[in-house]
């Protein structure tokens, strides 16, 4: 175990403190209606109505509405009964925040109770790009705010946790790129969360006009107060709501390395317009329990999405990831790949559903789910599914494989004089490389590589320290 408590003695073996018995689908966090009402009271009418409608759906919905997946829900590790959501942060400080990261065009840095920085370089700002808090957006351009924040379809209506975020969000960021503006350099959005006993509920909205292009790096990090897995838990819920107009192109990389006391519920939904292109590169490393859902809605003709997602788990982490790819336009393309490397007693649930609607003639859709169990206690679940109403497609397929480290690769590396443990590391990091290579900012790429390597080294150290089984 990578984070064994230091005070553990041989008399008291290190064992995870068992969560109290409860049903796997029981959500221990309860969103207080007063909190929703107090946020609604400060908001314009349309937004107050939006929060209340979301709250009603949140209360009515079960945790999993898709019958295919009800047996693969497990929230028992999430001990959130005592979690208290943060209030909305104070107005942004006048003092300039940290400088732009090298190579970035814009930067939003947010902590749980503070907006540290909202910055753009001059050229990008002059092009009409907006990076702002959601309150800032409402004050700046209520029409735009209403279109983006009030769009009911921007988050799945049948998802309790998405509606929880929508009803109770206390922070948010928007990135708006006007039509025709093409950003060469990425915008970085960094969240730092994990204060024990607190909950941060956020919405992030990415809006690209016709023909615009941009890249976003989202970094989810532990705040200074965050604890290891034995400490009181924190809650983070976050959305990424993506609107791509005709011909827009967006690359999103997300590096999730939250603290081991943090439970994360993530919802990413993209409406992809005609001829628009979306690339996701998602890395899941941290957190105690992560439940994530990605909805790709290929509405426009010739729209396309590529999604690559990796999971690197250690300890007793649970990664519960679902993706829905819905093809409605003609000649749309979906290419999804999920890979999980699992150490110790980690679990990954990779659930993916491709839906090809009757209108979606000429679809090309592929879903791959691959697992590598690095320990006998690890568990990989893959449910790659297809629902097809239109056979006139270029491709509709999925594939899945679970296997150990390839012995022939290992043999090859060892025959080149590489130490066996080092060789295993190369193979595992190579397995996860597809996401690293797609991160559109060199410094973030380096960070991700270092994080993966450190996690491997910690796992290997723990394994060699553990008594032989």
């Amino acid at each position: 175990m990578i984070d064994a408590t230091p005070e553990a003695t041989p008399a008291a073996p290190v064992r995870p403190t068992r969560a109290p018995r409860r049903a796997p689908n029981e959500l221990t966090f309860i969103l207080d209606e007063r909190l929703v009402e107090s946020a609604a009271a400060r908001a314009p009418d349309w937004l107050a109505a939006d929060r209340r409608a979301a709250f009603a759906r949140y209360r009515a919905l079960p945790i999993e509405t898709n019958q295919l997946y009800t047996t693969y829900v497990d929230l028992r590790m999430a001990d959130l009964a005592a979690v208290i959501p943060w209030e909305a942060p104070a107005a942004r400080p006048d003092a300039p925040g940290p400088a732009l990261p090298e190579g970035a065009a814009g930067y939003a840095a947010l902590t749980e109770d503070q907006i540290e920085s909202l910055a753009l370089d001059d050229e990008t700002r002059d092009a009409g790009v907006i990076v702002d808090s959601l309150e800032g957006l409402i004050a700046r351009d209520e029409t735009l705010a209403r279109r983006l924040l009030g769009d009911q379809a921007s988050l799945p209506l049948d998802d309790k946790l998405a509606q929880l975020t929508r009803a109770g969000w206390n922070q948010g960021v928007v990135v708006h790129v006007p039509a025709g503006v093409r950003l060469e350099r990425p915008i970085v959005i960094r969240w730092r969360v994990g204060e024990p006993g607190r909950g941060l509920l956020t919405r992030t909205i990415l809006d690209l006009g016709e023909g615009a292009s941009a890249s976003i790096v989202e970094e989810l990090e532990a705040s200074d107060g965050a604890l290891d897995r034995t400490g009181a838990q924190a809650l983070f819920t976050g959305s990424l709501e993506v609107h791509l107009a005709t011909g827009a192109r967006l690359d999103i990389a997300s590096i999730q390395n939250l603290a081991a006391n943090t439970v994360a519920f993530q919802h990413r939904q993209a409406e992809v317009g005609e001829g628009a292109t979306l690339h996701w590169a998602l890395a899941q490393l941290g957190g105690r329990l992560v439940r994530s859902r990605v909805d790709n809605r290929l509405a426009g003709n010739r729209s396309s999405v590529e999604q690559v997602e990796i999971i690197f788990g250690a300890g007793d982490q649970l990664f519960d990831l679902t993706s829905y790819t819905r093809h409605t336009g003609r000649d749309t393309t979906g290419n999804l790949l999920s890979k999980a490397a699992l150490m110790d007693a980690t679990r990954s649930y990779m659930k993916g559903l491709i839906i090809i609607e009757p209108t979606a003639v000429g679809t090309d859709s592929f879903l791959g789910e691959f697992g590598m169990n690095l320990s006998r206690q690890a568990r990989a679940v893959a449910i790659p599914s297809l629902e097809i109403d239109q056979p006139d497609c270029r491709r509709a397929a999925h594939s899945s494989a679970v296997g150990p480290i390839d012995e022939t690769q290992l043999f090859y590396l060892e025959s080149r004089g590489i130490d066996p443990e080092e060789a295993r590391k190369f193979i595992v990091l190579g397995f996860l490389e597809p996401v690293v290579a797609r991160v559109p900012l060199v410094s973030a790429q380096d960070t991700l590589r270092e994080l993966l390597e450190a996690k491997w080294d910690a796992g290997a150290a723990a394994a060699s320290a553990a008594p032989a089984a």
């Binding site: 019958q67 295919l68 009800t70 009757p358 789910e369 697992g371 169990n373 690095l374 320990s375 006998r376 206690q377 690890a378 568990r379 990989a380 679940v381 893959a382 449910i383 790659p384 599914s385 297809l386 629902e387 097809i388 109403d389 239109q390 056979p391 006139d392 497609c393 491709r395 509709a396 397929a397 999925h398 594939s399 899945s400 494989a401 679970v402 296997g403 150990p404």
Partner: protein, 467 residues
Amino acid sequence: MTATRDLVADQREQFAFHDDIDYLAQTKRGLTRATVEEISGFKNEPDWMLQYRLRAYEHFMKRPLPTWTDGLDRINFDNIVYYRKPSEREEKSWDDVPDKIKATFERLGIPEAERKFLAGVGAQYDSEVVYHSVKEELSKLGVVFMGTDQALIEYPEIFRKHFGTVVPAEDNKFSALNSAVWSGGSFVYVPKGVEVPLPLQAYFRINGENTGQFERTLIVVDEGAKVHYIEGCTAPIYATESLHVAVVEVVALPGSKVRYTTIQNWSNDVYNLVTKRAHAYENSTVEWIDANTGSRKTVKYPSIYLRGENATADIISVAVAGKGQHQDTGAKAVHLAPNTKSRIVSKSVSKDGGRATYRGHLKVSPGATNVVASVRCDALMLDDISRSDTYPYIDIQEDDTTMTHEATVGKISAEQVFYLMSRGLTENEAQNLIVQGFLEVFTKELPMEYAIEFNRLVKLEMEGSLG
């Protein structure tokens, strides 16, 4: 060989008949505790079976209908006759079979099949096995092949030892229903080291409008023994809905080999809800070869639990869904022991608004080291009003499993149709040939006369001439 069992001629009408039988004993419509007691009473069963049925009945009443597949709420359980007995006792000789029933079987081709080369025949007419014969040579080998009801009386020890151990009554709502009201079905016991030289075959028919059929099959294959069991169904066509809820249990003891082949061709008003499961012990091989072309809705996932080291599971599942049909089929392989292997191949065809669903489960449990497993699902959609779904569940809890899964969905290639038409085939003939080729992975596993029959069924489906 074709002529010996000309089950499917080119006219569908041959099967669309039913005879007016005077039922000597039948229960009232609907299911109550008294119905279960009445069924058990008709059969003069030992008390443990009555108690078993009653426990299953209680579970059935408690258990909600599954909601993960749709349309089951259209079944009116109160409007079904749960037991009918067409004749007072089981007939040992063909001459004693009532003429009307005999006439039905004549049309199905059973006597010829029996005369020629079939190893044994168990024919189910409604809810009771009325005719059963086992070739003498099989009896000499010690092979038991008889109606399940009869086996309960004649082989109480082996029956009780295995009955309900593979599919417990509480497994699902429909296994509970079957356990409560089961009647008929086949019982097979193959003693140690015996290889049954020819396939054992049973024909099933549903007759009587709104008659439920709840057969129960138990196959026990002892160490080192080998058997191939074939089940094929045809049923008369009726306008209102019929229900078929079966349970099949297979026990493959160490070193044995079992193949179970099904051609399911219920008429298009039947709800066919079947639980089929096998336990495979050390070094045994179990094969399910399963085709579904008929019924209004079939829910069936032949399963193999690999319980002993080096056991092998092989499942081929084929479905054709035409107008108004939903084939919700698939396969399950559960690896519970080291060095076990499984292979699942599924092929489905949907057309004329039909829906084909593959649902599969592949599980490698802790302790099942060095497992090799593969799943392959292909679906063909012949038009854009049909639907195809694929829902595979893969759950791996060991670190040295090698598992691969692939699925594709597509339509018939226009180039292939064009090529065949340029060689003088009509469009329909061309499509038919391509579909037959697509399903060949299944057909080639069948005995030849079945393969011919199956291809005819597919051809009839393709022509839309089935009801």
